[in-house]
């Protein structure tokens, strides 16, 4: 189990959804939902703390692997996150992705928190900053309208993101005190 105390929140995204906490939980943990809003990824999660967490491309190869850190349906789902499916990305330290689900009036407040254990460069955080609004806007549309957003999600990450990842992998700043 990873030491979550070492992870600091870096990117937070909040959205309010007209749905029940149970529905939002299902949308986050059931591949029948994630394939429609999460860049086509199918989630595969062992439903327990310490269980395995993975995201798969539509062609079946793995994109993200991790471990379930908190499995508290329908309130909190947290997992470690290592991008293995892109060249060299697996050398970056894993991050922590936590979803908090709270009833709020007649809606549900969903808070996504991306946390890191090292001093991540701004340009690397831009990856999540650009991706999460697309993913979570799509989740909200899917639950509220039954249809995903028609975003073209095949675009490449921004060049400064790729450059920052390359630099970090070469210099490995997380290994220095």
């Amino acid at each position: 189990m990873i030491d979550t105390a070492k992870f600091k929140p870096k990117t937070i995204y909040v959205t309010y959804i007209a749905a029940t906490p149970e529905k939002v939980w299902q949308a986050l943990t059931d591949p029948a939902f994630t394939t429609h809003y999460f860049f086509g990824f199918a989630v595969d999660v062992e439903p327990k703390q310490g269980g395995r967490f993975r995201l798969f491309w539509p062609d079946g190869h793995v994109h993200v692997t991790g471990e379930v850190v908190d499995w508290s349906p329908p309130r909190r789902f947290s997992c470690s996150w290592l991008v293995e499916g892109m060249k060299d990305f697996g050398e970056l330290p894993q991050c922590l992705v936590t979803y908090d689900i709270e009833p709020s009036g007649e809606a549900v407040k969903l808070t996504m928190t991306e946390s890191h254990s090292w001093d991540v460069p701004r340009d690397i955080l831009k990856g999540g900053e650009s991706g999460w609004p697309k993913i979570l806007s799509g989740l909200k549309s899917l639950l509220e309208t039954g249809k995903p957003l028609a975003l073209d999600t095949k675009e490449e990450p921004p060049p400064e993101f790729m450059a920052a990842v390359k630099k970090a992998i070469a210099e490995k700043p997380w290994l220095k005190g």
């Binding site: 007209a18 609004p133 697309k134 806007s137 799509g138 309208t145 028609a150 975003l151 073209d152």
Partner: protein
């Protein structure tokens, strides 16, 4: 440290024109902004006023830029109902609307809305903290209203 700011992005199944109308029409604003409404003619240099349902002024400001249906900048945004937020000084809010790539086969367009709310000075941190809580509610409601005809969060 730079000036405190809050950035929020949401993607909405609509058109830039409909989104612009929703951002500037007082009757529509009232539906997704918890009964608040706006007085403004949306011309650069014009005053902008956000009002409570009972008519009290919540915030004042001035239109710095209005380029429909792409870009709206409200400057001199100043809270008028909470002393501690009034003391945090003025801020500037930029709303940018952009058509995004979408799958044409879906027959449904998608629009990116980016809100950047930035304090005019380093003393503006409490104000930016307050708007960081408010914008996700308002913009979640705006998205729901445009996509489903009803809001998500009724307050």
């Amino acid at each position: 440290m730079g000036k405190p700011k809050f950035v929020y992005v949401t993607y909405i199944r609509t058109t830039p024109e409909k989104l612009w109308a929703a951002l500037t029409d007082p009757r529509t604003i009232r539906k997704y902004w918890f009964g608040m409404t706006v007085e403004c003619d949306w011309k650069p240099g014009s005053p902008w006023r956000l009002k409570f349902e009972d008519g009290r002024t919540a915030d004042t400001g001035e239109i710095l830029e209005a380029d429909p249906p792409k870009r709206l900048v409200i400057g001199k945004w100043h809270n008028q109902f909470k002393p501690e937020l009034n003391a945090a000084g003025m801020s500037r809010c930029t709303m940018e609307i952009e058509m995004v790539d979408y799958y044409p086969g879906f027959g449904r367009k998608a629009v990116k809305l980016m809100i950047t709310h930035e304090a005019e000075s380093e003393q503006g941190a409490p104000l930016i903290e307050a708007v960081s809580g408010g914008w996700p509610k308002v913009l979640s409601n705006l998205k729901s209203l445009l996509e489903t005809g009803d809001v998500a969060f009724k307050g």
